[in-house]
């Protein structure tokens, strides 16, 4: 794929750890789930508020939960890298081969990329400034609501496609 060897994303020391210690892969799975609960759970709460649910919640204090969503993202990225770089040790499939053939992995990665672009539009496009200091009872502008709805759908999609990855290998 892309002229890269199948072993491109493989890391020997990760594979060795997974083979040597049975708990590495399941521990990574558990932490991936915890990361998802933090990331998608908190982002969904924030997105729902921007969309107009729970309007009595002012947005500025709610934003204090977002660093925990970032922590969740970091957990997911770290454990996700364990899965990718150590894939051969668990299911004897090269990671590049998985990316090339597993349609669920492809969809998950596409949804993550779209969620990232959506986030960029929210912050870099200045939409976040219209939302940051919404007081209790105030409504967000329509564009912010659209971005929030898109965010929620994309992150739920990431969870959905991600859960299906083993069946696409």
């Amino acid at each position: 794929m892309l002229g890269l060897p199948d072993t491109f994303l493989q890391l020997g020391f990760v594979e060795d750890l997974i083979i040597a210690y049975n708990w590495v892969w399941p521990l990574s799975e558990v932490l991936h789930f915890v990361g998802l609960i933090l990331l998608v759970g908190i982002v969904t709460i924030y997105d729902l508020r921007v969309m107009g649910v729970a309007k009595s919640m002012p947005v500025a204090p709610l934003r204090q939960l977002l660093p925990w969503a970032v922590l969740g993202l970091i957990l997911c990225v770290f454990t996700g890298l364990v899965f990718v770089t150590g894939l051969w040790a668990n299911v004897a499939t090269h990671p590049m081969q998985a990316v090339a053939t597993d349609v669920y992995l492809q969809l998950k990665l596409i949804f993550i990329a779209l969620a990232g672009i959506n986030l960029l539009v929210f912050y870099q496009g200045g939409v976040s400034r219209s939302v940051d200091n919404l007081a209790a009872g105030e409504d967000a502008p329509p564009l912010a609501k659209f971005i929030a709805a898109t965010s929620m759908i994309l992150w739920i999609g990431v969870v959905y496609w991600g859960r299906l990855i083993p069946w696409g290998l």
Partner: protein, 190 residues
Amino acid sequence: MGILEAIETSGFSMLVKQSGTAYVAVLAFHTIGLIFLAGVSGATAMRVLGVARSMPLAPIKEFYPLMYAGLWINVLTGSVLICLYPTEYVVDPSFYIKIGGVVAALTLVQKLKNHLYGGGEGMDTPAGVKKAKTLAASLLVAWLVATVTGRVIAYSVTTKVQTAIGVVIVVILGLLVIRFAGRSLGLVKS
């Protein structure tokens, strides 16, 4: 044929197992339900424990419909999943630990809800704060137990125990990081 075998080989169970789409969709929605359920109740617990202190408690209750949606998604998908391999689950101790964790978590969610919003002491008195924090911390532990045991059901006993020990170590390390560096990382604000 016992009732469990009958359920496992029933038309419904075989239909789901043989339909690649249905089986994986049930699994995926079970995860999504968990995220809604543990996400909203976990956020409430985190607020009680001191995260996002300026976030008012009362409006959090307005997110509870999302939490209940997650609960019903998980009751439905969990029921389907149990029907697929009941003979395996009934002899697996980790299945009972998971269900125990879920029951404990749901009980604690209700107790915390009643304490905060249902005429209980709430966070207005030192005793009320202490009770709320105990409920909140217990709730997070219960969800962690349910999540870990749910994830490791498919593994050997040795791997399950080792993974659980690994989770405990990671949680302790995480709590230490939050305790000593939480403010500078933006995870805890005054």
